[in-house]
C-alpha cells in the first residue's frame, strides 16, 4: 500500500515538474544565459542531446530487444562522433580494438600480475594514440572540432576499448565482441544522423547527408527534452514483447491464434 502511494506520488511530481518546466521556459532561459557568457552553441548542443540518446538506448533495449552494452559507453561514443566525425570515431574504434587484441595476445603469455597486464594494455593504447596523431594531423580530416578535444576524444575511445575488451575475456569471445561492435556502429550512426550530424560520403568529399529537423527543434525549444524524458519513462513501464522476442517466439505466438 505504502509502495503504491509512493509510486503515484512520484509520478504526479514528475508530471508537475515537466509541466512547470515546459510552461516557464526555464531551460531556454538557462541556455540563453550560457550563450551570453560565451559558451559555444555546439558545445551546449552536446549536452542537450543526452536525453535523446538515453531515449534511443531505452528504445533499442526495451522495444527492439537489441541490447547495447554499457550505459555510458554508447553516449560517450556518440559525443565523440560529433567531435571527431563518424568515420574517424569508427576508424579509431576498430584500429584500437585491433591493437588491444594484439597486445592481449602478447601480454597474456607473460607471467605477470593481472592488474599489471591491464595497465600495460592502457599504456600501449596511449602510445599508439601518440604515434598516430602526426599521421592524422597530416591527413587534415578534422571535422567539427580541433585541438584539445581531439586528444581527449582519442583517450576516451582508448579507455572505452579497454573496458570493451577486457583482459579477462578469452579469444573465444572475438565473435561476441564483433557482434557488439556492429551494434555500436549501428547505434551511433543512427543517433548521429537523427541528431543532425553530417555524414560525408567519404572523408574528403564535400557532399554529405544531414537531417537537421530534430537538431533545430532541440536548439529552438529545449523544453522538448522534457517530453523525451517522459517518453523514456513510459518505455520503462512497457511490459510487452520486444521485437526480437516476437521473432524468437513467433511459432508460439501464432500457434495461439
Amino acid at each position: 500500500m505504502k509502495a503504491q502511494i509512493l509510486k503515484i506520488t512520484s509520478l504526479i511530481t514528475l508530471i508537475l515538474l515537466l509541466i512547470i518546466f515546459s510552461f516557464t521556459g526555464i531551460l531556454s532561459l538557462s541556455i540563453n544565459s550560457l550563450l551570453n557568457i560565451g559558451i559555444s552553441q555546439d558545445i551546449i548542443y552536446l549536452v542537450e542531446i543526452l536525453p535523446f540518446i538515453g531515449l534511443t538506448l531505452a528504445f533499442f533495449n526495451i522495444i527492439l530487444g537489441v541490447n547495447i552494452p554499457g550505459h555510458y559507453i554508447p553516449i560517450i561514443l556518440i559525443i565523440n562522433t560529433f567531435i571527431l566525425g563518424l568515420y574517424l570515431t569508427i576508424g579509431l574504434l576498430l584500429i584500437s580494438l585491433l591493437i588491444i587484441y594484439t597486445a592481449k595476445y602478447i601480454i597474456k603469455s607473460l607471467h605477470i600480475h593481472l592488474a599489471v597486464k591491464s595497465s600495460l594494455i592502457i599504456s600501449i593504447i596511449s602510445l599508439f594514440s601518440i604515434l598516430t596523431l602526426p599521421i592524422l594531423a597530416k591527413t587534415n580530416i578534422f571535422n567539427l572540432y580541433t585541438g584539445p578535444f581531439f586528444i581527449i576524444s582519442i583517450i576516451i575511445i582508448s579507455i572505452i576499448n579497454e573496458k570493451f575488451v577486457d583482459i579477462k575475456t578469452s579469444f573465444k569471445n572475438i565473435k561476441n565482441d564483433f557482434n557488439i561492435l556492429i551494434k555500436y556502429f549501428i547505434f551511433i550512426t543512427l543517433n548521429f544522423l537523427l541528431l543532425g550530424g553530417k555524414i560525408y560520403y567519404w572523408t574528403t568529399s564535400q557532399s554529405f547527408i544531414e537531417i537537421s529537423i530534430l537538431k533545430n527543434i532541440l536548439q529552438t525549444i529545449p523544453e522538448i527534452n522534457l517530453l523525451i524524458i517522459l517518453i523514456t519513462f513510459l518505455i520503462g513501464k512497457y511490459t510487452g514483447l520486444r521485437l526480437t522476442e516476437i521473432i524468437r517466439f513467433r511459432k508460439l505466438i501464432f500457434k495461439q491464434n
Binding site: 513501464k237 510487452g240 522476442e245 516476437i246 517466439f249
Partner: protein, 790 residues
Amino acid sequence: MLFDSKGVLGINARNLLYIGPYNKKKSIEMADDKVKTKAFLSARNIPVPKLLTVIKNQKELTKFNYNYLPNEFIIKPNKGFGGGGIIPITGRKKEIFIGTDNQEYSLEEIIEHFYNIINGNYSLSGQKDQVLIEKLIISDDILSQFSYKGLPDIRIIVHNLVPVMAMLRIPTKESSGKANLHQGAVGAGIDMAKGEITHAIHHNQIIKEIVGFGPIKGIKIPYWDEILQIATKAQLATNLGYMGADIAIDKHQGPVLLEINARAGLGIQLANMAPLKKRLEKVAEIQVTTTAKGVRLAKDLFGHTVEKNVRSITGKKVIGLYETVDILHQKQVFPTIAYINTTRKKNYISIDLAKRLGLIKSKRQKDIFQTHFQLKFKLAGKKFISIFQIEKNIKKKYQIILGRKDLSGQFLIDTSINNILTENSQGKSNLFIANYNPLETDRKICKIAGQLKFLSYFRPLNFKQEIEKFNQNHFYNPQFRYQFNNDITENLQKDLHKIRYDSSDLGMLFQRKIEELNNYLNLINARGSSDLTFLSKSFLGFPTKEEIEDINQNIIEKTKSKTTKQQEITSEQLKETFEKTLHEYGIYNWKIVIKEKMIAKCIVSKTKKISIKANSFFSEQRVKDLIIHELETHLISSENGRKQKYQLFNYGFANYLPTQEGLAVYNVLSQSQDKDEANYKGIIAKAIFLADKHSFTELYEILKQLKLTDKSALDICLRVKRGVGDTSKPGVFTKDYCYYSGLKKVTQFINNGGNLIDLYHGKYSIDDISLIKNISTFNTPPIIPKWLQN
C-alpha cells in the same frame, strides 16, 4: 501494449511484473550466492550436491593443498551465471586433470582458473568471487543415454508454490557437455502431470529427434513427483516468488537441487510450446497453502490436456492400436500384446498363446480353428470375459486381436498415441511401444523385484511356537499362520501391469520377468490356502516319477550309510573366511553379516550382503562347499550382473533360480567332489514329491527312515511345507525343486558342449542364453571363478 503477446512472457514483463514485485533483494542475493543457497536449503532437508570445499580468496588459494582434490569433482564460481567458469573433472592422472570431453588440464591451468574465478572473471557484475568444489554428479542412466557427456538437468519455474513449467536441458557436443541452451544444448519440454517429454528445441528451432539417439518424445523423467516437490519446497524456503530451480538426477542419490535462479530465462516456453505468462496468471490468485497442494495443482492445471479433455467429456479411456493386455487364466496372469482391430467384430488368439494357456493340448488341427474359448482379460484397467477363436494368421508381433464387440462403448482409440511396427537391424519386425524406454522398464521391474521379498512372506507368524509344539510331540502337525498384505500385492500387481515392453529380445525377457513376478504375487496370495500347492506346482515345477526313481536309485540307496562330519567352524570364522576369499577376487564392497532369524544357513542377497545364520557350526568341507556355492557362483554372478547395463542381470531374469542353484550345485560337485550337497538336493526333491501326498508328521517320519538326522528331517519338512496353513493335510511349496531341476539342466548343458562361462554374465535362465548374449554388455564376464580362468 504494442503487440498482443498471447500470454507469452517476455523479458520486460518478467522483470517488471514478476522479478521486481515477487523477488526481494535479499532473496535474490542469496540465490546468486551458491554457498549460502546450499547451506540454507540443505538445512531444510532439500538434497543438494555435496560441497567438498570453498576457496574464498587468494590467501586461501595460495595455501590450498591440491592433493586434497579427489579424482572426480566439479569446479564452480560461487556467483557465476550461464554456466560460465564451470569445469567438471572426471579423472586424474597425477597432476593432469581430465574434463568431460577428455580435455586435459594441468595443475597450473587449474590454479589459474581458480585465480580467475576469485578475481571475478565469471561472476555477476565482475565482483570478487569464491571457488566452489563439489562432488561430481553422475547422471541417471535414463537421462544420460541421450545426452552428450555433461550433466542434463531439469529447470522448473515455480510461482506461488506451483511448478508451472519444466524443461529438460540436454548437453550436446556443440555445447561441449554444458546444459545451456545458448551454448547449443537441447531443451525438452515436460508434461507436468506425467513427467514425459513433449517437444524439443535446439537454437530456438523445434527438433524431432536427438542426433545419434532418435526421438525423445514420451520418455518419462524418473522421480518426477519428487522433483516437483523439491522445486516447490525450495521456493517456500527461499521466498523467491518467481523462481527457476535447476535439478539434476544423481545415479545413486536421486534428484538433487543444483541451484536456484531468480532470473530464469524464457526459452522454456518454446521447449514446451506453451506461453508462460498464461500459466503464471492462472496460479497467481490461487491460495496455495502447502507444497503438496502446489504439486497437485500443477499436474491438474498443466498436464496433457487433449487426452484429459476427451476423457473428461466422454468418460472413456483413450487407448492406442496396440496395447498390453493381461490374460487371466487358471489363476495366472499372461501379459501379452493385443492389436485393437475395430474392423473385426470378434476376438482372436494366436496358436502359440493358446498352447501356452493350455487350450489346445490334444485337439485335432481341424477342430482348433472351430473351437471357441472363453477367456478373462484385462485391458487399460478394465476386466472383460469374452469369447476367443484361434486364428492361424496372427502375426508374431502381437498375440491377440480384439474386435469391436467388446470394445464398443468402452474406449476411444487414438491412433496418434500408437505403437509403431519397425524393423531392427536383422530385418526382424519389432513392435516399438510408444513411451517405452528399456532402461526405465528395467528399473521399474527391478524396483518391484526388490520390494518383493518373496521368501519373507513364507515365514509363518507363529513359526517358533508351532515348532516347539512339534518338538514336544512329533505327532503334532503345525498350524501355520501368515501375515496377509493384500494391498501390497495388489498394488505391486497394478504397477506390473503398467510396465511397457516391446517384442524385441529384451522386451521378451522383460515380459517373462513380469509374468514371473505376477506369479510370485499370486503365490503369496495363496499362502495358507488350498491353491498354494496347485500354483506352486504349475509355476515352480514338480518332480516327475522318473526323477524320483532316479533319486531313489542314485542317491538314497548310496547315501544310506552317510557319515556325519565334524563341525568345528563357527559363524564368525566362516565370515572371516568369506572376507578373505572375496579379497582374493578383488571384491571389497560386500557386507557379511551374522543374523539370528534365518532358515537357511547362508544367503547371498542382491544388495551386496551375505547373511550367515548366527550360532551355526560348519565342517571344513561345508565351508569349502559354501565358498564354491555362495561366493564363486551366486556372488560372482551378482557382481557381473551389477556391471551390466540392465540391472535385471543382478536381480535375475525370469526363471534364473534353477540355473543359478543348479550351477552352484554343479560347481560344488565338480570342484570339491563332494556329493553331499547334490544328494541333499535330490532328497529335498523327493520330499517335495512326498509332501504333495502326506502331512507334516508323515513326511517327517518318512525322511527319518531315509536315515536323515532329526534336524535335517525337520529342516526339509519346514522348507517344503512353507506357505501351507494346516500341515495335517497334504500340501507342498515346491520352490526348492529348483536345486535338483537346475542341476539336471546345467549338467545337460555341459554334456551338450555348453560353456560354463556363458552362465556368469549375471542371473538368468539357461534357456535364455541366446537372448542374454544379444543384450549382455560384455563378451566375457569380468569375474569368473578361479577354475574357469584358464
